[in-house]
């Protein structure tokens, strides 16, 4: 009989246990990684400081308030060259968003149409669409932008050609649209006195149509009668404001572009660079969206169509009730990432001279001030913010789709569908197995807002440490002692890390504690003036008020009516 002695478990700590013992191993590896990261970070910061000192530069953002002294050709806000660099940057951001939003809408339209056309039974149409998709996807976007720009500037008439009785070129659509090589002129709407009634009627019409759709759905659920929802809604939205428009004496007019002296005046002017950019981006991204749409529709099992037909659903209903809901769930995530790509690609504006963020802040401002770090850092931060916001929307959607998949119709808190379907409603409790499967979607939105609040605080703090040259308050970061620098950097990195986990993963209570801890140690370390955040509010007040707010949110998540508390490793039992 072999007696098995349990090996004496203790024996103290040996060095090799760091990598041979699962209790210490992961901590050890992470500490090594942390040290390595800090070392690399430190080396880089040190090099940057040394290099900046060598060329006699510092790191400060006060140049942003200096006059920009350059002109921007497309100004959605008032701007003159005497305005500050900061204002120029904001104009750039708005211009970027103008391209991105319009581009996304156009790309979606093009993409959906092309995607459906690629599935057409008509060989000719299918072939043309395949050529479109393949050619566009395999040619660099930059070349396409430059080509479209060349088409506009080379083939369209100059404004001068529209002059006089025997004009070489003529306007389109009853003299309302002029296509010139400098850009396109469209009629613009003029809102005169009293026009708010029409606008209000239009908005009211939209609201009323939503209400009506709800009513129709409820009625159908109750009685089984279907109503002609679409025509009635169209009437509500279009006819009502139209009637009011005529009754109130046509308060909204058209401002037509007209040729005067040397150029067109009036109307809505879209510059050639903007047009080239938007058209090329929309056509390019549309080709990718077309592929997503096609793949999404094809991914829905053929059997689904057959099953729906066998049940007696008409083709239209089959599409809207069976195919589309399934296809959309496949199409929308890649669609959103195409939006992301389009937004990032809008930075190619630089090549056609459109003044977006890369043109203003990261272009002329950079060249004029020579502040590479500050301008590039800010510019990248803006792009990152836009990207992460879009990614956030995508996460929200994905959670929503998951919800639909697992337990249809349970109110899992604020997800997209509940947002759209209205707040409140009877919340169903999630059974135990369920809740363990999907940890946190119920509180995702609230918690994300919460993290954004933290992120804001963190940015303020980073701004306070590195950016504001608040020399009268404390020595500049670059004059600190080594220990303080390392401590501050470590805490900043840790706080960002904790935040990133909260944003990208399912956060645990420990993450929140970590984030809190890092913030406050960092804040204390820096003597952060909490009071200065909101004018007229005392610092202590601020700390207590925010703490109370967070407590309230925690309390709500733990005790509130919403289900899903796996978040704190607790599951509410079913009654």
């Amino acid at each position: 009989m072999a007696v098995i002695d349990p090996p004496s478990g203790g024996g103290g700590f040996r060095v090799d246990m760091l990598w041979n013992d699962s209790r210490y191993r992961s901590t050890f590896i992470q500490i090594v990684a942390l040290l390595a990261t800090i070392t690399v970070f430190w080396l880089i910061v040190d090099n940057v400081v040394a290099n900046l000192a060598r060329v006699g530069k510092d790191f400060a953002f006060n140049f942003m308030t200096n006059p920009a002294s350059y002109d921007i050709n497309q100004r959605p806000l008032d701007y003159t060259s005497r305005d500050s660099h900061a204002r120029a940057a904001i104009i750039g951001i708005i211009n970027t968003l103008l391209v991105a939003v319009v581009g996304c809408v156009l790309a979606t339209i093009i993409g959906v149409l092309a995607g459906i056309a690629r599935l057409s039974r008509n060989l000719m149409l299918r072939a043309i669409m395949s050529v479109y998709v393949e050619v566009i996807r395999n040619v660099p976007l930059l070349i396409q932008i430059l080509l479209v720009m060349a088409v506009i500037t080379e083939t369209l008439p100059v404004p001068r050609d529209f002059r006089g009785e025997d004009a070489v070129a003529s306007m389109l659509f009853w003299d309302s649209v002029a296509l010139t090589n400098r850009g396109f002129y469209f009629p613009a709407l003029i809102f005169q006195e009293g026009s708010w009634v029409v606008v209000a009627a239009f908005i009211a019409g939209i609201v009323a149509s939503v209400v009506f759709s709800r009513y129709a759905a409820a009625r159908q659920a109750a009685t089984g009668d279907t109503m002609a929802v679409l025509p009635i809604n169209a009437a509500i939205i279009i006819l009502t404001p139209l009637a009011i428009f005529f009754v109130s004496g046509m308060p909204i007019g058209l401002d037509l572009p007209a040729f005067q002296d040397f150029n067109f005046q009036g109307g809505l002017f879209l510059r050639n660079s903007y047009l080239a950019l938007v058209i090329a981006l929309a056509v390019y991204t549309g080709a990718f969206i077309a592929e997503n749409v096609r793949a999404g529709i094809m991914a829905v099992n053929r059997g689904q169509t057959e099953a729906a037909s066998a049940l007696g659903l008409q083709p239209g209903r089959t599409m809207s009730l069976v195919i589309l809901p399934q296809a959309l769930r496949i199409i929308i995530p890649p669609l959103i990432s195409q939006y992301l790509n389009l937004t990032k690609n809008s930075s190619l504006a630089l090549f056609v001279g459109y003044m977006d963020l890369t043109g203003t802040l990261m272009g002329i401002t950079l060249n004029q001030t020579g502040r590479e770090f500050e301008t590039l850092g800010l510019g990248m931060a803006v792009y990152l913010t836009i990207s992460l916001s879009i990614a956030g929307v995508m996460n929200l959607y994905n959670e929503d789709a998951k919800l639909v998949e697992r337990t249809s119709g349970t109110g899992g808190g604020l997800s997209l569908s509940t947002l759209l379907a209205g707040f409140g409603g009877p919340w169903e409790r999630i059974s135990k197995g369920d809740a363990q499967m999907r940890p946190t979607y119920g509180l995702r939105l609230e918690m994300n807002l919460f993290w954004l609040f933290y992120a804001g605080m963190l940015l303020l703090m980073v701004d306070y440490v590195f950016i504001q040259g608040a020399s009268e308050l404390r020595p500049s970061y670059w004059d600190w002692g080594m220990g303080t620098k390392v401590a501050a950097l470590t805490m900043t990195v840790a706080a960002f890390a904790a935040l990133a986990t909260c944003l990208f993963k399912n956060p645990r209570f420990i993450d929140i504690i970590a984030a809190e801890f890092c913030f406050f140690v960092l804040a204390v370390l820096l003597g952060f003036p909490f009071g200065a955040l909101i004018p007229g509010v005392d610092g202590t007040m601020f700390v207590f008020a925010t703490a109370a707010m967070r407590l309230a949110i925690f309390g709500y998540t733990v005790l509130g009516p919403r289900p899903n508390l796996t978040f704190f490793h607790r599951v509410r039992q079913e009654a």
Partner: protein
Amino acid sequence: MTDMPNTGNSALYVRREMLAQQPPPPSTVGVVGWLRENLFRGPVNSTITVLILLMILWLAPGIASWAFIDATWNAKSLSECRQLGEGACWAVIVERFGQFIYGFYPAEERWRPNLAFLLMLLAFAFALFDEVPGVSKEVWARIRPGGLVFSAVFPFIAYWLIWGGSIWGPIGLVATPVVGYFAAVGVDKLNSQYGPFLPDTLPVPSIVGLVAALVWLLGGMQLVAGALTAISPEFFPLWLPAVESKSLGGFLLATIIGVAGIVLSLPIGILLALGRRSGLFFIQTVCIVFIECMRGVPLITLLFVASTTLSFLFPPDSNLDELLRVVIMVTIFASAYMAEVIRGGLASLPPGQYEAADAMGLNYWQATRLIIMPQALKVSIPNIVNTFIGLFKDTTLVAVIGLLDVIGLITATRADSAWNGINWELYIFAALFFFIACFAMSRYSMYLERKLATDRR
């Protein structure tokens, strides 16, 4: 055929003779049937077909006469072109073809990038293909291990071929892991031969190997290479005329940046993907932040960083070539995308694979190297090719910081007084080039995807 037995009112029915197969109605087969099925199925379809046909008939003659019939292929300037014909002026492409391909690479040295390109195809073939048409499976299997070594060494060969200079630098780099390996093995041998004198709690041989490799990389290599360089021009023909980065341009530049970016980003991407799935909080966080930040900003901003601030991150006296800086940033950018591609591959593996590897007693790196990565990479290849296509197209952006890639050269050409005013021809040429390259690659990736789908079944 009609000898059906009449049995009164009985339901009995017996077929005595089987029917032969009949042809279908003529309107559903043949050319007519095909046309009906595909082009003229109902009034809407027919209208669409006719409209598209009309459009093609309207556009095609114009395009054909512009691009081919009235085009000019030989001229010295745009004005000469315009005198010769109304159509496209391809003469500019003919005149500057070499430039568009190689940039300002010395004409007599152009065999070097050509050779490098051919070797690159070979290196990729070894790395990617399980079988090659025309080579028997056994032969390929036998030469492939050696071929893989060649693939690994190829980047250094390519570097030497393109930039020239002494071969000893690249050889020194290649030798680094070899030096480390032999140092580690040597220490291990000594230790086991002359009685164990090393503590077994520390992986001493590995540390010695690492140190040896570092010493070689940081100093030893230069010493040896310097000595050999001093001798070699006389003794070995291993010296090529040096070519500056500034002379590189055109599609050569795009290829260099694209290939270097994708090849270098592969190992980084693998590490990032593993880190992101590691479950170690800090490492995971670092990887996620890195990946999301790189994917969240446009490449153009990273190119700005390459041209302005990147050199600030290095010690003051280090003087980085602009092309090198661009390659660094492109690599960082691509590795974030690569990490996501590989993460997708990792996620597609069933958890049983990890469990089986664990149950056998393989450690993390063994399991990753032998079981997980081979499968994950194979699944990822189509997406890696797609990433490469994207990156290759994006190399056109380097024009923004003044590198003379195709777009940069086109701008320069248009500024030339002889060709001032030319537009379409240049862009169409560049577009066509990229289209051919990218379309071929995307077809290849689709083929791979289909092949994978059948392999898995």
